[in-house]
């Protein structure tokens, strides 16, 4: 196998600094470390082959976009049942949304005591369109504009999905901790 060394240098500059971010996104989207490793491996190959198409600018957004898209194609192929893409919300999630918020101050206290594994499970139960925006916001600390670019969404949709994702997570965690 022979690759142009300038492409390798470019890949090293553009992709490798964001490997941890790439892994975290894949881990949250796929819900498992092992799957995330496979996804990032595949995403790195795509990034490597497509490196000449990187026009400069925000390399982190470029990498995260590839990882996001690879996550979905990988999940569609390998974990089709786990991937909730179609439809906005399942019935159970919808009914949780329709519940009034429990008294919120104890809610904050409850959330603070929730175990990391419970948080992961609640995130895994969110439909993917809600999960991805919340991960990009809370884990990667990206602006709505940056998330809109990565997920290919209008900025208003990003905003409403993040708000709803939080509401769903609080309903789910508040319920499980009570």
């Amino acid at each position: 196998m022979w690759y142009d060394t300038t492409e390798q240098a470019r890949f090293a500059e553009v992709f490798t600094p964001h490997l941890v971010d790439a892994f975290r996104l894949a881990h949250w989207l796929a819900g498992s470390r092992a799957d995330a490793e496979d996804i990032v491996q595949e995403a790195s190959m795509r990034a490597f082959k497509g490196i000449s198409g990187f026009a400069g600018g925000d390399s982190r957004a470029w990498v995260l976009t590839i990882v996001r898209n690879t996550s979905y194609s990988w999940l569609a192929k390998n974990r089709p049942s786990a991937l909730v893409l179609a439809g906005d919300l399942d019935e159970q999630a919808q009914s949780r949304l329709d519940q009034p918020d429990p008294d919120p101050t104890p809610e904050a206290r409850l959330i603070a005591q929730v175990e990391a594994e419970t948080v992961r499970k609640a995130m895994a139960a969110l439909p993917a369109p809600f999960r991805e925006v919340l991960v990009l916001r809370e884990i990667h600390e990206l602006s709505y504009k940056a998330i809109a670019d990565i997920a290919g969404l209008p900025i208003g949709t990003v905003m409403s999905r993040i708000a709803r994702a939080r509401r769903l997570m609080l309903a789910s965690l508040g319920g499980s901790a009570a």
Partner: protein, 248 residues
């Protein structure tokens, strides 16, 4: 209580810093007089904290890091690229373009480079520490379960060095505990990991990429202190830290 859809959006946009200053001002005024809204804000902040709680552990395996480094390696006729790639990958991760220059020169990236790179990355990052606290009693338990050794967390506030927080760095593919102190404009990172490569209690001084680095060992642990502070300043800090660690 139930929030209206509009308030739900405002609340999220507010904690995400996406409101204009006028909108944020108006929203802050409402928060003061609407306890329900303030409590909902608190719950969302708690959710943020919960989501970020295990971030330090959430890193790719060394195997994956090596495979990706393999893609990034430069073909070489010396035959030593495998080991080079493995030891470079973390530097690449931590320092990006800076470490690439090291590869180009073909020199081995050693532990001090990795420690300095982690320090620089901390300075550039929006979140230079994984846990923010000036309380050593918060920091010490935070390391539990993240690393398998008990790092020294010295309280040097009386000497003017404020503990800012802590993070986990990766040095030679192993987790290392890093404490971040500040004094005036200067940030000092102290990285600790088990090992005794340096002779006990000897202190060596280095300048790496414009940063001053002190390395020492107490026979049980290895320590590195990195800063852009003046040499005498950093040396004073190191002496205080060593004194504090030998008594704790």
């Amino acid at each position: 209580m139930t929030l209206s859809d509009q308030d739900e959006l405002l609340l999220s946009a507010f904690i995400d810093g996406e409101l204009s200053s006028i909108e944020a001002f108006q929203f802050e005024n409402r928060l003061r007089v609407e306890p329900g809204l303030a409590a909902a804000l608190e719950a969302r902040r708690a959710l943020r904290t919960a989501l970020r709680a295990d971030r330090a552990d959430d890193i790719p395996s060394p195997q994956l890091q090596r495979r990706i480094a393999g893609l990034a390696r430069k073909p070489s006729s010396t035959g030593s690229w495998q080991s080079m790639a493995a030891s470079f990958v973390l530097g690449l991760l931590l320092a990006g373009g800076i470490a690439w220059g090291v590869i180009e020169h073909g020199s081995r990236q050693d532990v001090t480079d990795q420690v300095v790179s982690a320090h620089i990355r901390g300075l550039m990052s929006s979140a230079p520490t994984d846990v923010l606290s000036s309380e050593r009693h918060t920091i010490k338990p935070w390391f539990n379960g993240r690393i398998n050794f008990a790092p020294v967390v010295a309280d040097l506030s009386a000497e003017g060095y404020t503990l800012v927080g802590a993070r986990i760095d990766v040095v030679d593919l192993s987790p290392a505990a890093t404490l971040v102190y500040s004094r005036g404009k200067h940030i000092i990172s102290v990285t600790e990991m088990p090992g005794a490569e340096a002779p006990a209690s000897s202190t060596s001084r280095n300048r790496e990429q414009g940063y001053l680095l002190f390395a020492w060992s107490d026979g049980r642990m290895r320590y590195w202190a990195v800063s852009d502070a003046a040499p005498e300043e950093l040396e004073r800090f190191v002496k205080l830290f060593q004194a504090a660690s030998s008594t704790s």
